[in-house]
Structures are given as C-alpha cells and as structure tokens.
Symmetry: C3
Subunit: 333 residues, 3 copies
C-alpha cells in the first residue's frame, strides 16, 4: 500500500520523493532530432531553418504478471528552430505534447488513455515516404492526420497479419481538433477506426474517422466531419510503390490521392511522389496538385541526411506555386 | 576550478558541453502517470478524460564527504489530458513546475532552496487517502495546500519519531499564492512550520502557515492569512482511520475537517471519507460537505487501478451537487 | 530503410514507438542547478530567490564510421524560481530553450544547425569569472551575448592551440535578436566569427558579430549592428588575470571593458572584477561602471557555494546604484 500512517521520512520526501523510482531502468529516454535548411519560393524567396517534428520522450513498461503489462509514455515535441516573430524569448513554452498515455497491454492487445495519433492517422503513416519532411503528404496535399487529446484507444495484436485499432474521444471540456466544443458532452464525440494488413511484400489499410461537429465548430447546425482512407503498398526487392486515397465529407466533399515510389541502392534511397487534392475540410490547403522528389543517404539505422525538391501547385488563378528545396538531417536516439 | 584560461576545446563545447556530466548516473529520471475517465454530473453531465498530477522528474545527490550531500531535483507537471478550450495547439506550455530545488543534506537535516510543497502541506498529505484522485481533500473540502515558489526550507532528521520542518519565502518580485505582491519585500513574507510524529501504528501532525497579506492582495489594509492544521492516523492490521482538521483565519474564519478510513484485503483497498467545510479563505469552495468511497486494486507497488464515487454537496440553496464517478490508473516510474 | 511496407507491429507503435531507441545509452541526461538568495538595494531593498541559468539537457553522439560522428543536443533552461507576478500558475511554460542542435563532427571540425551560443559569445565566455552569477558581465556592464535561433555553425578542431568558429543565421520567418524581421530573407542575416588561441597559461580571443538591421528593427533605414570583442587571460600558479574589451557600432558607438582577477587557495577562490561601459546598443544598461568581489568554495568538481557583492554605478544623475549581495549554490549533473 502506498499510503501508510507510519512515520514519514520527510527528509527522504525532499531528497528522494518516490522510493520506487530509484531504479532508473524504469525509464527509456528516446527522441528524434530533425532539422532542415530550406529555400522557399512563393513568388518571394527566403532561406529558413526548420525543425521537423523533433521530439524527446520518456517511456517504459512494467511486467504485472499473468501476461499483463503496464505501459506509459510522455513524448514532447521540441521546436529546435524559432518559427515565430516574438521577441527573443528563448522560445518559452516551445515544448508541445505528442503521444502521451498510460495503459495496459496483454495477449489481447493494448489499451491506452491519453493523447495519441488516431488509428486513421496511423493506418497509412508508413506509406508517406516524405513523412515530416518538406514533401510530407499532410502539408502538400492536405491529408488530415490528428493526434487526439483525451483519447481512449485499443489496438489488437497482429492476427495472421491483420491488426485492428479503434479510438474514441470523450470530449469533456477539452478540444479535439481545433475550435470550442461547448456542445460536446458524450463519451465518443470523435471515433477513429482502422484495419491494417501486412503480409510479406504487401501492406494494405482501410480507415474511418468521424467528428461530431460540436467538437469542431461549437454549433450543431453544420454536418459532422466524416473521413475514410485507403492505402496500399507493395515492395519488390529494392523497389516499392504506394498509393493513398482519402475522402472527406463535411457537407462539402473532398478527394485526395497520392502515388509514391522509392528505389534503394546501397545506403541511398531515391523517392518521389505525385498527388492531387480538392483541398480539405479544414481549409489548410486549396485545390491543386503537388509533386516531390528526394534523395536520402542513410549513414546508419539512426542517422540520415537528405535533399529534396517539392512543388505545391494550386489550381486557383493568380496563386503562386510554393517551391521548396530542402536539405535535412534526421537522428533518432 | 571550473574556469581555466587554457585552451578551450570548443568543439567539445559544442558536442559535449559539460564534461562532468558524461556520467549519466548523476541523474535519476522518475515520474508518475495518472489518468482517469470521469463521468461528472453537476445538473448537466459529461464524460471527461483527466490527467491527475502526472509528473516527470530528474533528481540526484552527490556525496561531498564528511557526511554532507548535495541534493537537487527538477520535477515537472505533465498535463497528459487537454483541459482548456484553446485551438488544437498540442498544449504548448503544458509543462508546469513541481518541487524543484537545490540544497545540502547531512546528519543535521536537509536544507533546500527552490519550489517546494510547504511543511503545512506535507504534514497531513499522507492522511488524504484520495490524494490527486477525484475525491482529493483539496478539491472536495477546500483544504489549502501550497507549493511555494522561492522557498527556503529546512527539515530535521527523525528524532525518535519526531520530524520538524520549516520554510520561509522571501517574496522578492515573485508571487507566492496568487495575486501581486508589490508591497512584499521581507525575507519571510510567508512562513510554514510543521511537527510530525510517527511511531508504529500512530501518526500525528501539527502545522501552521501564515502569509503576509501583501503577498496575496498587494494591499496592506486586509489581515494576514493564518492557517493551522492537525492530523492523526492510526492503523490496526488491515484497517486504518484518519482525521484532519484545518482552521483558516483571514478576518473571516473557516473550519474544515475530514474523517477517513481504509480496509486492505489482498491487493485491494476499500476506502471512504466524509468531511464538512465552512468554505475556505481562497473562495475555491463553498460551505457544505463531501463524501467519497473507492476501491483500489494494486497490480504492483508501482501500478494500481481504481474506481471511486464522490459527492460534493454545497449548503447553498439552488446550487447543484457535483457527483463524480471516476475510473483511473496510476503508474509510478 | 526506415520505411517498410511490411506489416506494422502497431501495438509496438503504441508501446514502444522507436525500436532503435530501446538502448537508453544513446542519451546522456545532464544539467545544472544554480540558485541564489539575493539582497538587492536600488534605493529600496528587497530579498529575492533567483534561479541563475539552471538547465536540463539531453545529448548524445553516434559513431557513423570513417571518423564521422552524428551529434545532437536538446538543452532547456529551467526557471527554478518564479520571477513574474502572474497568478500562481506553477510557471507553465517556464522551460526555455538553450543550445539545441543537430550536426556532424569529424577530424575537420564540427558542423551544427540549431539554436546555439554564437562564436562571439563563446570567445570570451571563460573570461567572465562571474558567469551566470550576480556580477555576470552581461548584467553588470552590458556585454552583448546572443544565443542565436536558427544558426548554421562551424567550429574547427584545435590547430596548435588555435580554434576558429563561424556561424550564420538564415533569418527566414524567425527572429534572431528581438524584434521582427519582415525584411530579412537572406541566407546570412547575422554573422558571427571568432578566433581563439590557448597555449599553456595564455588564452586570447578575437571575435566579430554583425546583424543586418532588418533582423533587429524590421526597417532598413537604420544602420547594421556591428560588434567586435577582444579578450586575453593569463594564469600564474594560483593567480590569474583577464581582460575583455567590446566595441558596438549601431550608428552610435559603445565601448565596454572589464578587468578581472582570481586567486585560488585550497578549495576556495577569491575573485574580483572592475569595468566601465558607455551603455550598449540594446539599451539594456546605461553609461557607468561596475565592480564585484566574491568568494567561491568548491565542495567538489560538480558543487560549489559562493558569496559575492556587486555594485552597478550609473553615471546618470539621480539614478541609484544597484547593490547586490548574493549567496548561491551551483551543482552540475
């Protein structure tokens, strides 16, 4: 029992608050540093230094016996560059939160509560060959990926290659996706489900995500946001190809697709992507298309450098292309 | 000596800034993940996911010889849920500060400077059987616990079961307890003292805390806030009982008490509490009473799950009860 | 290759997101806790508790073969005291960013991208015997030291005692030095270079730093800020002396110098400094002089305590001196 009426070793409270934590082996410290130097041309051009989803995390598991494990993770986004125009404040508050949860795992799967990428996001994440880079499919084509606050999530073990995942968000007083949610009081204001199948060279995924509109706009007059996504990938020796399609229905209807391919030689990978978009339900991107090409050099499993070029070409008249040339380095630890 | 005029290995400055820190064993990484899924009924009802004093910390000691030790700790609150209604900002700035200090320890006790729970708070903390949970005695009955910024604190070793603790706060330009403190310039604008006695099944504590009103309201026209608290606990085999009483005098006078009991069977604990309050000096709670009952299941020393029900019943006419059903998990690492 | 089309062990994604990070040895956790209790007299007097550049960091290197290494660091400033007058918010967002970068190192030197002290700042940092303490030469005399956001930096290996360092800042949408930078679009909006020579008892440094005025003021009508700095130090047995001179030209011209000396006996160091300033280009300090004297006691290589007295004496009529007596403790981990 954690609470005892026996004498408190208060000096111990000061100097070593949690006795059980004396064993640092309970914690794995990990992370990823990813920065790039970009030349961005949107009519005007500029040079910029960017931090791309750099992160620092703390995680662990405890064996509870009978095949049961406790799992936890606290992961923070580290903005290694300064993107705002505030006064030189050392970027106070520049740590954001990433997947941060507690849960239980067993033969039956994993159950977690906290902030986590939705199953919808996870389903095709590995098919984005430019993830977190300048040509990331969220930034170029407007695929909508969410890391849900206050998620209650379950993911199955692999069953002959098939993995199922589901998450719901009891909105409470919190915000799921931007915007207020005064009308949201249910246990599952947002739902995300995914089926993923991997077998040898093949990977395929189907996912669905829906948000009660209250969560997004705080009004109930507008329709819910419903999204579904399909992805498939196939690898042949050093070559692989992928395709992802997404439909978003929020009254207005949006279609997005991306084709991608990669070829590996030695420690290098050359990769490319092309896609078209109707824009998306969040309005973060307009109708148009985008293509990118890149070369990765892997120094090791943990460290790579890359160069890539990406164009975003809006269909709208009078809107400039955004052309980005990006040289970057990624190190996982 | 740390400063030398000999050549700086500047490349070393870049790649390995503090040579003395190469030995990671200087740091223990520890923490606690605590989340619950709550159904809250205040007339309207809602489901919510809550992070309850989840934390991540870094601490260590260094043996300085002659029985002297250096001690330090940096502990951060991690808001694992999203409680605000801001746009989906990944909760930037969601790390708060908890007990964070540097000091010296020896046979004579421990002396620290920094942010720390006051002796007043520490004195009966272990008597709150629902600490950090939905039925926490601060949230339900309005006991006032402070983590003082800028504290200068001393705690004695255990002397035949008796431990003494004292802290003062030189307010400087800082805030102790909320509110501005333009009139605060002394070395001890707030003082907190506690005597704690533990012997076999008995635990008893007496504590006093006072704030110069300047610290709280920035005016000297109102009286100081004086609080004293008494707590006692007794355990018999698997059964234990506790009682805490607090008086707050801020011109107006407030009394609060809580009775609690727990019974352990196997890896489970059933526990309950009842208390009454006149409200408190901070106005965070009104006159009324509260009761709670809970069941804890301990998977291990580090991991438990629980379910509990708690009512807060204000005396005021027309004010709804707050009824909360909470299912949670706590993992210390 | 990091991206694969084979089945994702998604449960693994949840419970252990980065397989490569399972080995905690990739990360060194380090830091410094530094707090002082100060009596400050500026006409009125007050007692205060201050955190002085306390920090917590995570860093590591990976051997990439062929003499090449990947290096990274994420270092955060930890405000262990509460300096603002906000409500008692637990100082949310109180983590700031310090040197945080990724890069490559080899026989040819070290190349990093990120947030880093400029070569100009590094050049004479070791000559400030009161660095981060009450008598720090930035706070007392107005030497301008910058930690550049978005720096691209190179530092050579030591060549017979000579080390060269250079950094540039592609301003992009970011801020270098306070103020907006709407007009800044070049690859090197700020430049900092330093030559440092160390040989036995002698250390000497020469440095230059320039900011395109767009970066500072967002107008191009005012001149750039140009600074150069010279420093020299010499040690004889237990005695050492130092001198630093800085010139700042921003249309108006500012000169600053500081003399310092230290004497070591046993585990103690007595140290003093005197300097004069015309003020500085940022207006953070006015024309005047300053002196300080201090006694350090080193408990170990990692832990010291100190007492010091420092006066800042403005030349302006009717402006009070600032007299500070500071007792502090520093612990590196």
């Amino acid at each position: 029992m954690q609470k005892k009426f026996i004498a408190l070793a208060i000096a111990g409270v000061l100097a070593a608050p949690v006795a059980a934590s004396a064993d640092t082996a309970n914690v794995t410290v990990y992370g990823k540093a990813h920065m790039s130097i970009d030349h961005v041309d949107t009519g005007n051009s500029m040079w910029d230094v960017r931090s791309r989803a750099s992160r620092l995390g703390f995680k662990g598991t405890e064996d509870l016996g009978d095949g049961l494990k406790a799992v936890y993770q606290m992961e923070f986004g580290v903005e290694m560059a300064d993107r705002n125009n505030d006064i030189n404040d050392g970027d106070r508050g520049s740590l954001s939160q990433r997947n941060t949860f507690i849960g239980l795992a067993g033969d039956w799967g994993t159950f977690v509560v906290g902030r986590h990428d939705t199953p919808f996001k996870i389903s095709t994440g590995k098919l984005d060959l430019f993830g977190d880079e300048a040509a990331d499919y969220n930034d170029t084509l407007g695929f909508i990926d969410a890391r849900a606050d206050n998620a209650v999530a379950y993911i199955s073990p692999s069953m002959s290659g098939l993995t199922l995942a589901a998450a719901m968000v009891p909105a409470g007083t919190s915000t799921v996706f931007g915007g207020a949610n005064a009308n949201a009081d249910g246990l599952a204001e947002a739902i995300s489900v995914a089926a993923m199948y991997g077998n040898g060279p093949l990977y395929a995924a189907l996912a669905y995500e829906t948000y009660d509109q209250d969560v997004i706009t705080s009004t109930s007059a507008t329709p819910d946001l419903d999204m579904w996504r399909f992805g498939i990938g196939y690898s042949m020796d050093a070559f692989k190809v992928g395709f992802v399609y997404e439909n978003e229905d929020v009254g207005a209807d949006f279609d997005i697709y991306q084709l991608s391919a990669a070829y590996k030689f030695g420690n290098n990978v050359v990769k490319g992507m092309y896609g078209e978009t109707d824009g998306n339900a969040l309005g973060t991107i307009g109708k148009g298309d985008s293509w990118g090409i890149g070369l990765d050099h892997h120094f090791s499993k943990r460290t790579k450098v890359y160069a890539q070029y990406v164009e975003i070409d809006p269909d709208a008249a009078g809107v400039s292309n955004t052309d980005t040339f990006s040289v970057g380095m990624v190190h996982s630890f």
